[in-house]
């Protein structure tokens, strides 16, 4: 049986399985409230929570974008292991303070925190809308990256039988179907299965690559011969970029709405603590592995262009599949694992998008079933728009990630500073977000991605924090600091 036929059968089987899981999840629902649909009635235990956090964090970006970037940049991309770990480190500043308030106040979306923390201040509503809009933009961008990755993988796994555009649109429709039917419960269950597939598949692929290349040392020597700069000690600009990327990804990623919602959805604090402890090791088992896969690709494909480099993973799998029936079957498993990881991230993003638009942007009540319906429709609209743009991807996957993070990082003061500094007011916070976003967006529009290796988004955050700090210091919040909201949250 040919690779393409085998791939089509495996893909079909996997999609049927996803639809079946969503049906089970739909029958397991407790009620029609947003908390049930968007947070699985807050019943996620350690194992499912770990795997859903894992499958959500490690996405199409990790599986296609990171090997592509390792291929382009060489060994300095080892920074990716550091910045993925920094996310679990920065969670220390968010989770212990936010989680108890979220449970007590029954938060569904990140905007619920803004409403609670800045309650009674005139600038609360505009701040919530601006933060919500930034998060929706970042998520739409994230969704776009997943759809592009999905199209590439579906095309490759079917040996070209499924055109890129059909892969994007068809798989987007499947995600929309099972997410709408089963909500967070379906997403978390499928994430768990997808996480396991991805983990096993990547390790097997790396083992094959290293064995085929004569081991790590032989692969490194070969890379040094082909591209000496990929192995040499990075220059100051690259080191500054390394540090800046750790700050950018570490701070921005903890504000992924879908990550925050998983903090809300954990069954207990103990489950969450154990899941985050185990998550600390995932960058070493996943990011490091995909980085090495991208580096090994240098020895096989020389001279790929910037956008083409995002396809090194599917190309490697295609090459592996040609080695015999056993490797063909394993390559299909890895392909499906990769597709699973991408779809699991896309479904999580879609779920968060729906809740953010309905609750934070349209101001619908968090507890009403009509909010769930509006969220589903809004998510479908955004999915349609993103699928159209994905048909002609404008940038590399890594640049899409950077742009998303540069927007998301501007929300840091509204969460991390607001949790730890009682005096921060909504007006100061809003002014900071506007200034920071203007710098980040202005830099991008003017074509200045970085200054001395530091991302414009990080420079924007420094200005953002300075404005928020000075404004709130000079002009304290226009309402007295009182009530359980501040006393509990802003110490």
């Amino acid at each position: 049986m040919s690779f393409g036929t085998l791939g089509l059968i495996a893909l079909g089987f996997y999609l049927v399985l996803l639809v079946a899981v969503s049906e089970f999840a739909r029958r397991a629902r407790v009620d029609h409230t947003p908390a049930d649909h968007f947070l699985a009635a807050r019943h996620l235990g350690t194992f499912v929570l770990l795997l859903t956090l894992y499958a959500t964090a490690y996405s199409g970006n990790s599986l296609l974008g990171y090997p592509g970037e390792a291929y382009r940049r060489g060994f300095s991309w080892i920074m990716a292991t550091g910045f993925m770990l920094s996310i679990v480190v920065v969670f220390h500043a968010l989770v212990p303070k936010l989680r108890p308030i979220a449970i007590r106040e029954s938060f569904v979306t990140p905007g619920d925190w803004i409403r609670h923390r800045f309650a009674g201040e005139r600038a609360e509503r505009p701040l919530r809308v601006v933060i919500g809009a930034l998060m929706v933009l970042a998520l739409a961008n994230f969704l776009l990256a997943q759809l592009v990755a999905m199209g590439h993988v579906a095309h490759e796994v079917t040996g070209g039988a499924l055109p890129f555009a059909v892969g994007v649109v068809g798989l987007a429709a499947v995600i929309l179907f099972y997410e709408t039917r089963g909500g967070m419960r379906a997403v978390a269950w499928t994430d768990a299965a997808q996480g396991i597939l991805m983990l096993v598949g990547l390790v097997v692929l790396l083992a094959w690559l290293l064995a085929d290349g004569g081991g790590i040392a032989a692969t490194t020597r070969r890379i040094a011969e082909l591209r000496p700069a990929a192995v040499a000690v990075p220059d100051t600009l690259e080191r500054m970029n390394w540090a800046s990327t750790i700050v950018l990804l570490g701070l921005a990623s903890v504000l992924y709405p879908q990550a925050i919602q998983r903090v809300f959805a954990a069954r207990s604090a103990g489950s969450l603590r154990r899941a985050l402890a185990l998550m600390s090791f995932m960058p070493l088992t996943t990011t490091l592995v995909v980085t090495l896969i991208g580096l090994a690709a240098i020895t096989r494909f020389e001279g790929l262009g910037a956008i083409e480099a995002d396809t090194v993973m599917p190309r490697l799998l295609g090459a592996w599949a040609e080695e015999g029936p056993g490797s063909r079957a394993m390559a299909i498993v890895v392909f499906i694992g990769a597709l699973a990881a991408i779809m699991s991230t896309a479904d999580s993003v879609l779920l968060s998008l729906g809740s953010l638009i309905a609750v934070d942007l349209f101001g619908r009540p968090s507890g009403a079933p009509s909010t769930t319906r509006l969220g589903k429709r809004a998510a479908a609209l955004v999915m349609g728009g993103a699928a159209l743009v994905a048909l002609a991807p404008p940038l590399t996957l890594w640049r899409l990630i950077e742009l998303k993070m540069e927007l998301l990082i501007q929300c840091v003061p509204a969460f991390l500073l607001a949790l730890h500094w009682r005096r921060l007011g909504a007006a100061g916070c809003l002014a900071g977000v506007v200034v920071g976003t203007a710098i980040a967006a202005g830099g991008t529009l003017l074509g200045a991605k970085r200054l001395g290796g530091v991302h414009m988004g990080v420079i924007g955050l420094v200005a953002n924090l300075a404005v928020a700090f000075v404004w709130s210091w000079l002009r304290p919040p226009d309402q007295p600091v009182a009530g359980p909201a501040r006393s509990a949250s802003a110490r």
Binding site: F75, I78, M79, T81, G82, L85, S86, V88, V89, H92, V95, P96, R99, P100, I103, G215, I216, A217, T219, T220, R221, P228, V231, A232, V233, P234, D235, T236, R239, W242, A243, I246, S268, A269, G270, L272, R273, R274, L276, A277, L278, S280, F281, P283, L284, L288
Partner: protein, 75 residues
């Protein structure tokens, strides 16, 4: 009470150590463009970075297990 305070202090020390490991993971200490030796098959500066991230992962996992999240009493 004493236990909780000790856990809190240890947790903060661990987070401080993680910050140090992050600073060490970036090859500030090497001359740019220098040809590296191979350590365990990796360029030496890459091996140092991986070791730093492995250490940071272990410390971070321990720090999470020591983290107090107030709703614990309700479990």
């Amino acid at each position: 009470m004493g236990d909780a305070r000790t856990r809190q202090i240890v947790r903060r020390l661990l987070l401080g150590a993680i910050a140090v490991l992050y600073a060490l993971s970036i090859p500030w200490y090497r001359t740019a463009g220098a040809e590296p030796e191979l350590w365990l098959g990796f360029p030496d500066w890459v091996a140092v970075a991986i070791a730093c991230y492995l250490g940071a992962a272990i410390l971070n996992a321990v720090a999470w297990l020591l983290t107090e999240i107030p709703e614990d009493e309700a479990e």
